[in-house]
Symmetry: C3
Subunit: 139 residues, 3 copies
């Protein structure tokens, strides 16, 4: 069994979900591995990973709005406020979603369903450069 | 190291948690692999995976009710409403739980704790046919 | 490719996040594997795993408080109440966070970001002995 690792640099543009499926599919292709396990790992605690619907952009909008309603930005609720009102909510939103994703690869393709895409979920108000490690184990 | 992959078809019966532990244990058995890593991946964005308590069915009821209270079905809150009032909440509930699970296998058995079972969490109002990919890497 | 498995016993001290990064780094070191995949799996449904900020302890405090506000302890909301007002909330809080984590290992080190640490999140009111399985697949 072989390994392949690549670090992806993702430039987010403020809060919300950014589709990285094509980038990740490119890594799988370049790896040359046809069957195995793909692990994605985001090296941050104020951005996260998520597999979600890929067809209707309204789903992405509604997910962001749900997070805004559910995770308050009222700084009186938090002790950790030095980096602004979006900082502690960003940590909480990350905790409620994923730092790592595991996706089997079969015949050179991720086994994603028809309506699934892979997203980086930016939780800070500003865009950031986010690093995602993509690792394949397989043949 | 070897690989084994199988697609499980799970027929859900409406909202709530469906125990698939025995089915998954069957895959581990059939794979012939004694030690390694089991990855489960659900190919949908309105159903998810969860490891939860296996003893008291009330836990499953209370989890479903928590999701109903926390993720509103009020369509005025959402833009994505074409598939009905249960559709966007299903995506959100999926985002708050898991698309993939990683479970080490040792001596031919998953290392689940005494009180742990593996569930498909259906988030739509109707039953669906859900596909779960089970992949083993190991010896 | 080789495997290494170790069971970590973690003694929690009541609700909140306990840093186990050093313990897990020790397992990676002892395994002798330089490149591969680390899987962590907690064998409980009232404690969970989380990767979160490692610099400011206020983040951990605020995360615990968010969970307290969001997951009510009012037993009238639950059927599963036999083990006390903290029991069903503990299951829900576990469902909202992680049972397993996947962390690539490169050059003998986990690819954690500068500000990331690995935590066991205790959700019960009392301290417990929690078992975390650490498994490495790699070379």
């Amino acid at each position: 069994m072989k390994q392949y690792v690549e670090a992806l640099e993702i430039h987010t543009r403020g809060p919300g979900l950014l589709d990285i499926t094509a980038k990740v599919a490119g890594v799988v292709r370049v790896s040359g591995l046809r069957d195995g396990l793909l692990t994605l790992f985001v090296r941050h605690t104020s951005a996260s990973l998520l597999i979600q619907e890929n067809a209707d952009p309204d789903v992405l909008h509604d997910l962001e709005q749900f997070m805004r309603r559910t995770v308050s930005r009222d700084t009186r609720l938090y002790r950790h406020t030095t980096e602004g009102p979006d900082d502690m909510p960003a940590h909480i939103r990350s905790a409620l979603t994923q730092t790592s994703l595991s996706i089997p690869v079969k015949d050179g393709r991720m086994v994603l369903g028809t309506w699934q895409a892979i997203y980086v979920f930016e939780h800070r108000d500003c865009g950031h450069s986010r690093e995602v490690i993509a690792q394949l184990l397989g043949e």
